[in-house]
Symmetry: C2
Subunit: 132 residues, 2 copies
Amino acid sequence: MNSIPDEAIPLLEGRHLANLATVMSDGSPQVTPVWIDHDGDILVINTVEGRIKERNFSRDPRVAVSIHDAERPYEPLTIRGRVIEATRDGAVEHINALSKRYIGEDPYPFGQPGDQRLIVRIEPDQISYGLP
Amino acid sequence: MNSIPDEAIPLLEGRHLANLATVMSDGSPQVTPVWIDHDGDILVINTVEGRIKERNFSRDPRVAVSIHDAERPYEPLTIRGRVIEATRDGAVEHINALSKRYIGEDPYPFGQPGDQRLIVRIEPDQISYGLP
């Protein structure tokens, strides 16, 4: 499967947290929940410079993402891919839009002074939908 | 934090899917939802010999786990640790118990002929509860 199936799109447009896996400098895995967005088949997340996941994908762009609806948990969307861009451009507007979608608040209320937000784009290499 | 906080224990005893991250042979990450159990601070999952995650942690025991309650998504439990045991002993009884808890069915209804089930124990090295 090399594109996101139509049935899985609601997973990327609702309030479901995705789980983003990255690789630590010692080669071990790390996984953390993130808000998720997409632009066609490109997954889009938003983070802050200096977070563990950001340091990890800046060193090794290979990531994996899993997302499921708690009401339909056995139809997860799982992806392996690469971070193809991490940019400050538009990142504040983007976190505000995500905040509005996920928690109904715009602007995003949890920012800290000095946070440098990033929009991060992930290109899938492998996509699966549903359990093996 | 080096033990699982009491407040996070319900995440391991309910019907929430955990997300297990492993590392592929090329060093890239992989993440997939799993049923989760625990024995004190040891996380316990159940899989089948030959699955991608099983091949991965058999080669490199380092894994990461993230789990959250969809009703309280911003208090995730995230762990980095190592698979310390994967055994066939009791694995069928264990998947049946998990099946009963998660979907109310005992025995587990989705087994395939030839499946060799494994109980997998994960010792946490780092534990965090709640967002950074």
